[in-house]
Symmetry: C2
Subunit: 492 residues, 2 copies
């Protein structure tokens, strides 16, 4: 397989698909719409998990695990939620295979082993979890419940793309229960904030926090908060959502608690999640025509050392220098890999590490040994410098920090340059087709206008930003009065 990628300018979508496969992040599997996450891709996901998990625990949450399957009768209990997911449910109907009498050596579903009640493979776990919480909650003393689950979920999507939209994906889903509406709303906002902090500081992806319109809301939610990012092709990507569920699930599953005065009331709920979709956001925010570009925080190894040698003696001398560097870097908690494979030439190694986005590459050759220097290359800028051996670990420590910040800055500049205020529908369409990005425009607040704009332009309202000022104006489409701007974009 050629390592050369299609360029983004040539075909952005093709570039993405090729990059995911060639950088060894993921690939399609034998199961329609399901991906295999390869070790290198999974190592990045593990870094995200570790940091998110730390942040969840720091904000008082604990992990638990609930069943993969949801009995149909529970699944349909919260009507809007059921309606929202019914069309994409994988359903288990049988619990046994048997030898196929017509085809020796083949199996078939045992017709006698039909389940009395079908089981839905969870597309999300509100139903099974609230059916469980019912038994955990009697009084205010049992609240709040602050639980998170790391799990796989299945949504039978027709058009799938690696990481961005897959039939099975990995995610975390927080499900909390509260005594008061105010507390649940506070939790919803807190977790949206945790997501924003994580995505910005850890993944170096700038996001806009906002609230979804009714039509973009999670099925079963009263309010959906979200973080929206902007990809390099000018399309938006919803990177995480946090839902205030009101008392919808408590009512569907009859979950009440007694307050301090002994009065019974339904419990208030939130749920919030991010998924392996974040991998897609990561790739499409930072990468370039040479491949993946990783923020140092997410790199499975932050530094790679490539030896350049003609004989064993040189290799050994270089290895000695490399081992010293490795030990110094590890003391600074910098992860480093010494690429001493003898099956690949240095040029091929350079190409692979570039494709896989290793933030810094050290090359050490015979000349470097003489001069007590190494060659240091930055993946993000593709620039090289010669560094004195004595200073290498200090230089690297500083550079890793600089790269992390500079990737964020670059993405932020791009994002800020691609929020365009628009006040008439012709400009709206023109900006959308030429420049892309977010369009900040007035909207009259109706579903009809939102639908019409989507139908005409494919742009949806990504969110009503939390930090928007109220500003009187008229709707960009209908001309009806509006109290403020919302953000439109085409989206993944």
């Amino acid at each position: 397989m050629s390592k050369k990628l299609t360029s983004r300018a040539e075909d952005y979508s093709k570039w993405y698909n090729e990059l995911v496969v060639k950088a060894d992040l993921a690939e399609n599997s034998a199961v329609r719409g399901c991906m295999v996450i390869k070790p290198y891709g999974y190592a990045i996901w593990e870094k995200m998990q570790a940091e998110l998990d730390r942040m969840f625990k720091e904000t008082g949450h604990q992990n638990a695990y609930f069943p993969l399957f949801v009995p149909k009768s529970l699944f349909e209990a919260e009507e809007k939620n059921a309606e929202g997911f019914a069309k994409e449910c994988a359903v288990v109907t049988h619990y046994r295979l048997q030898n196929d009498p017509d085809k020796p050596g083949k199996l078939r579903v045992d017709p006698e082993a039909r389940l009395e009640e079908e089981l839905v493979v969870r597309p999300t776990s509100e139903a099974i979890i609230w059916n469980t919480y019912k038994n955990w909650i009697q009084s205010y003393r049992d609240l709040p419940i602050l639980v998170n689950q790391w799990a796989n979920v299945v949504r039978w999507e027709m058009r799938t793309r690696l990481f961005l939209r897959t039939a099975e994906f990995l995610w975390q889903e927080g499900h909390t229960a509260h005594a008061t509406e105010a507390e649940a709303i506070e939790e919803t906002k807190l977790m949206n904030n945790v997501y924003a902090t994580f995505v910005e500081n850890f993944m170096a992806i700038p996001v806009i926090q906002g609230v979804k319109t009714e039509s973009e809301r999670f099925a079963g939610a009263v309010d959906t908060y979200c973080i929206e990012a902007l990809m390099q092709d000018g399309k938006a990507l919803q990177a995480g959502t946090s839902h205030f569920l009101g008392q919808n699930f408590a009512k569907a599953f009859d979950v009440k608690y007694a307050n301090k005065e002994g009065k019974q009331d339904y419990v208030w709920a939130t749920s919030w999640g991010v998924s392996t979709r974040l991998m897609g956001a990561l790739i499409m925010t930072h990468s370039d025509d040479n491949g993946l570009v990783l923020p140092p925080n997410l790199a499975p190894y932050q530094v790679v050392i490539v030896p350049i040698y003609r004989n064993d003696e040189q290799f050994e001398a270089i290895s000695k220098v490399a081992e010293d560097i490795i030990s110094d870097l590890r003391d600074r908690s910098i992860s480093v890999k010494f690429d001493k494979r003898d099956t690949l030439r240095p040029g091929a190694k350079f190409a692979q590490h570039e494709l896989q986005g290793v933030p810094l590459r050290i090359a050490i050759g015979p000349k470097d040994l003489e001069n007590e220097t190494v060659e240091l290359a930055r993946r993000d800028t593709l620039s090289k410098q010669t560094v004195i051996l004595d200073r290498i670990s200090v230089v690297i420590e500083d550079l890793l920090e600089e790269i992390q910040e500079s990737l964020f800055k670059r993405a932020l500049d791009y994002r800020n340059n691609h929020i365009t205020k628009v006040d008439d529908f012709d400009s709206f369409k023109k900006v959308l087709e030429t420049k892309g990005g977010f369009i900040s425009a007035h909207w009259d607040g109706t579903n009809e206008t939102e639908d019409k704009i989507k139908e005409l332009t494919k742009a949806t309202i990504r969110c009503i930003p939390l930090e928007s000022e109220s500003e009187d104006g008229v709707c960009v489409y209908s001309g009806n009065p509006s109290k403020g701007r919302v953000l439109f974009a085409k989206a993944y």
Copy 2:
């Protein structure tokens, strides 16, 4: 719910079930045979995961993720494996629900949305993984592949018990590919060793390493290595298995590689796994009639501090002392919880922490403030001592180590006292029914004898121990010649 457990002597099985629920480890769910792992139980599982994951990585393995579903045609490719699991497969046949025309507000499976090929919910992932490895392997340069997956699997069991046997469970499954038979066998043994080290050193559970007989082997394996533990009721529990798969899966999925000379050969395979079943082993090895007993390595918190006070002033003075202790313990990487709930009395807190197996409990009352002491209670021995405040963190650090060792020692003594050499079948039956435990006896090496013994006594051959000496003898059942002893037991 009463906190008082049924005693082990009264009804061991009932004691276990009650303990799992009352100690907040897990509970049954609305889905037949599937459990909910509650936060306290999940926190213990997380500790196991973290340590195992570290050990896997230290031995050169990487994590990846493969699909939950296995298309039926792949599932049936390796015949023995398919045959072994066919009877317990949950099968997805449809990918959509729709409104039930006969029952308003209810859903039904959409008969139009039948899958062309049924999908098996993975009971184990050899099939889907070897179908993937096929594309990853061309030459010896691509080998070995050392991959592990943390995942949920489903085996439709008819009689389920929390942790020990559930329809869905959590596990890790390693799947490796090698160029030579010798290397694959070495890997199989290495990972069995990793499991033994983990279970003994980290979980304080002594195990015997051995090899399974043909009838107890993993479906599709050439050899199954295992670690066997002994529970307090004299029944054995298989705590982990590591399989040498030969070229069975490589042949079923046509996975060949070119060696250095360019010659094609099938790839050699291993797989190995441990699961949430380990939670069952943990509970049944160390716990007592008062509840869970946790080795310090696995305790979500190793120390709990309970304040005993009559007024706010006392509470504040005690809190100050507690905060100092907490800070000292955290400096020593000891996890500690300050139980300052004002909804429970100290006695109720003591009972809860005892039930939940917290290794050490500190109580601080007004008298302690005066004397600059605290009361320190050990969960494993239920003994108490008064400790001078100045020495508390040193004492605790030492004690935690001592508890970890003493739990192992206690379990090892019990285990060693329950391996009985037996040379005739009457003694075999008598020892099995009275003393229980492992019976070390000669076996003639045939399936028939093994089956017959199982039929007559319910005892199975747990393993042929790796460390057994060859010893000529005659089979305890058939009287036919035997080259060595094997271990029989009734088992979970």
